[in-house]
Symmetry: C2
Subunit: 173 residues, 2 copies
DNA sequence: ACTATACAAAGTGTGCGGAGTTTGTATAGT
DNA sequence: ACTATACAAACTCCGCACACTTTGTATAGT
């Protein structure tokens, strides 16, 4: 249901997406939607929060996998955090999130911070530090690289490939 | 004169900036402006081209300095290419450039490519390659990192500091 | 090599009324 | 736990006239 809402908000934008559109996408009636979410702003809030929560959690799971080397886990984590929103949706989701700041409050700042924190931790935990640069700085740099790449590529596969290069370069062999 | 025009276009946007505004900023009369540029689109074109040309050339000079190690030259080059447009002007210049594609033709693609090419060359020329990653990929990654960072920082000093970290990660040690 | 002034043509923001849409709620039914 | 239908209030969109601004050019003057 929140996934359907995300689709609708992402393709139409917050303003142009109507509750009716979301209801249809979620296969319920519009009044039915109001049984779950008391207003459009609240639905939007829940939608974005769900998407962000989902992404960090997926990233977290990827980073926690004990069987894979750091660089593979990092590729996976970045792919799950940002790769999903690459391509047609990339700008639209971005615009969606930071063009309605009053609706989302601290979320658009807090989730990236949380993601950054878990990446930092994963890098720090990997004994095998190959540079003198602090883990937090490595994480922040990779995060910026991911943002930059996201705006240049047109498919998730391309995003993954370019992030693989970046991670190789920054913390690979 | 083109610098004055850049200021005006950057702060008001292409549409809201009038020829009168530009003329005042350049301390000439509006009809006088038409003696140099036959129309507003042409003035805009010349303004952006001048700014981009200026930036690549400055970057090129930085990369050519034979007395400094690669990483210092790279920091300097990225600072000159992108650092100038960080802070208040960052988004505005970006919007300015890619929200008027019909006015600028191939410029917004060609100049970044040219910058990428000279960075690639500088990295390739530096014998001292510490990675197995091709120079073009290193350059592209750094370029994406710079784009990402540009949207996160609020001052040129901060941009420089973060790019220093990024470049350190690649060839610092 | 410019400025000041002037001008037509085109463009742009503004207020307005009315048609249509959307929100949030209610109510009756399954 | 929902759907279908209905409804008032608010909001958005559209066309349209109007004033105002802007563009590009001309002309006379320094």
């Amino acid at each position: 249901m929140l996934d359907a809402a995300l689709q609708v908000f992402a393709s139409y934008g917050y303003r142009k997406a109507s509750m009716e559109d979301v209801a249809q996408a979620a296969d319920i009636s519009r009044p039915g939607l109001y049984l779950y979410f008391s207003s459009k702003p609240e639905l939007f809030r829940a939608t974005v929060e769900h998407a962000l929560e989902d992404s960090v959690e997926a990233a977290q799971r990827a980073l926690a996998d004990p069987d894979r080397p750091l660089h593979e886990r990092l590729i996976e984590a970045f792919d799950r955090w940002a790769g999903r929103y690459v391509g047609p949706m990339a700008d639209e989701i971005g615009v969606l999130i930071d063009s309605n700041p009053e609706l989302l409050g601290a979320m658009p700042v807090e989730y990236p911070e949380r993601f950054l924190a878990i990446v930092t931790e994963a890098i720090a935990a990997d004994g095998d530090g190959r540079t003198h640069v602090p883990p937090g700085d490595v994480a922040a740099t990779l995060h910026s690289t991911a943002s930059g790449i996201k705006h240049e590529v047109s498919s998730r596969a391309e995003f993954r490939a370019r992030m693989t290069t970046a991670i190789d370069l920054y913390c690979g062999r």
